[in-house]
Subunit: 402 residues, 2 copies
Amino acid sequence: MVKRNRNIGRLKAAYLFPEIARLRREFAAQHPDAKIISMGVGNTTEPILPHIAAGLTEGARRLERAETYSGYADEGLAELREQISGVYYKVAFGIDEIFISDGSKCDIGRLQTLFGPEVNIAVQDPSYPVYVDGSVVIGAAGKDDTASGGGYSGIRYLPCTPENNYFPDLSNIENDSIIYFCSPNNPTGAAADKRQLSSLVAAALRTGSIIVYDAAYSDYIRDGALPKTIYEIPDADKCAIEVNSFSKSAGFTGVRLGWSVVPKGLRFAGGESVNADWSRLTSTIFNGASNIAQYGGLAALDGEGQREIRQMTDFYLENASLIRGALNTLKIDCVGGDNSPYIWARFPGRASWEVFAELLEKYHIVTTPGSGFGPAGESFIRFSAFSHRAGIEEACRRLTAR
Amino acid sequence: MVKRNRNIGRLKAAYLFPEIARLRREFAAQHPDAKIISMGVGNTTEPILPHIAAGLTEGARRLERAETYSGYADEGLAELREQISGVYYKVAFGIDEIFISDGSKCDIGRLQTLFGPEVNIAVQDPSYPVYVDGSVVIGAAGKDDTASGGGYSGIRYLPCTPENNYFPDLSNIENDSIIYFCSPNNPTGAAADKRQLSSLVAAALRTGSIIVYDAAYSDYIRDGALPKTIYEIPDADKCAIEVNSFSKSAGFTGVRLGWSVVPKGLRFAGGESVNADWSRLTSTIFNGASNIAQYGGLAALDGEGQREIRQMTDFYLENASLIRGALNTLKIDCVGGDNSPYIWARFPGRASWEVFAELLEKYHIVTTPGSGFGPAGESFIRFSAFSHRAGIEEACRRLTAR
């Protein structure tokens, strides 16, 4: 009989967010009257604003007219790729360097397939689970020794802690690594500045590594001095791929639309083009994002769409500000929430899952335990600002009521 | 520097269909006045019919209203999974055995990641490229020796030829294999009957193999005696995964919606649940199909939607019939087109790419060279019925004009 893929066997039993959803359902079943408030998953809650929504509706309608019907558009609409290059990269990239996707998580999974099992891996610790879990799946993570608290043996964890202001020490990145780096960060909410990102690019160039830069929260940056893309750093186009998404900015978590940037200057050790391999891989195992979603994306990139993205991200940032206010009142040490929709709160000496359980049982609030994001997340809790305003306000009242 | 993934290096330089698109573009540039007719890619051309289209539009509109907005729906709408189980499987499967996807090709890529590099592979030859190419990408295909005409060393090719009536000899499937099987077949158009599929299931059970049954064209079956799903065969739920899609039936090639069935009875050698691993994997590296597409899928599954699918597939089958008629007039030996949208035409003693070039240069018709689907496809051409009626009629006129 067919043997189980041992890489899958090395995964922890459950992906973090379905596990949290399961615990929530269990609690709800036991406490049918509890009004549970979700501040757990980074799932958008607010309806898509009118202009962008009209783009989606028009995208759907185009499919019922012979003149505008379209089938496969594997490589993505040329106009959408052009607009992304213009709006996010000041036309620094050609459309054949911008690849339309069904979202960053899926793209990261495919990037892991691109790089294969034999690369070294470095991740911020804590980090969004797909960097580690996807590396495990493809066989690049080595044996699991999470039992010893050390994570996977084949992965270099780069702790991001209060002590280093949530920007990691880059000196112990191995040569020839794939470095997953997310800024503004999920889960810590930390947004790296120009000096920090310059040191990241320098570290990648020094070690012959490739950065996979996850900019999914770039539209939450409000501090004008902070870079919104890794390509604001000179020479990043020689060592970095960027992934981004409309999920958190336009409310497209359920619509599925994102992109990757793979510069033509990026090369493997033997001189082979990373861009050419990515193009070959995506045409082989992917069939493109929904063309309906792509018309929504086009609307999101024009002047009115960009104003709506600002309005949407402002709303969630106001939620974040309310959460921070409540945590400040409680004198709970926290960061994030100013240039990101996540607040990272510290509960010294306590286990994350224990605090998670207490918040659920006592306040009926669902959060995410920091240890779910990696060893250095232990004793932290991630609060997500993706929730309705009334829920956030009620959660803050419950938390601060004495 | 990061080394290129050697599995990617083993792929042929270009994926078949982008390569054909490139040749078409080149020809068009050299012959700007040529009215090129596409009978190449299996890309739908007809607008989505009104009821299903209204489902898509409603799906888009739901996202702009607070009461109906939805974000991530990784596992797919429960109602959609229920409907698929009801319409396609007579409720033989629970909704946790039906997984919603963004299409079969993408699902097959993820299934290859699920099984990993250490499985044996068997494929119909010729076959849809992703079975082989995706196996190469994940490292399950061994070294390429296509130069010797033998395909990849780690893949067992099962020739489907006129001599065996396009159903392969199953006696040389290795133990513990993943068997990719597509019926109605792309590219040959052959639809396996009950006796043939029973022998396939028996072969899988005998060899401890898992069938990945690609039923993407099942809605084209008109012969009532032919099985529309592998699960019409007893015990298939112990040895088979089925993938299917709305692409070719409802015109969703650009919408992106499909599903996989992974029965709970399916086990790996150590007794581990394939269903549980698939659930874990898809929640890790996938984020679900667009919820807009899913509302379109719901519409496609009700009575009116099913009537529209019948109307749409009838249209393409009429195209197929016209193509067969023209080839018969020319006394070109061909099969398919009766229970499938593809016609497989034989040009004895000639190379597929040579015939492809002749059809393009002489008749301005784009087809697909059979050798692109595997060694046994040499000297065949695939004609696709996915084209506008006027184009099909004009192509037939050009081919039969003397």
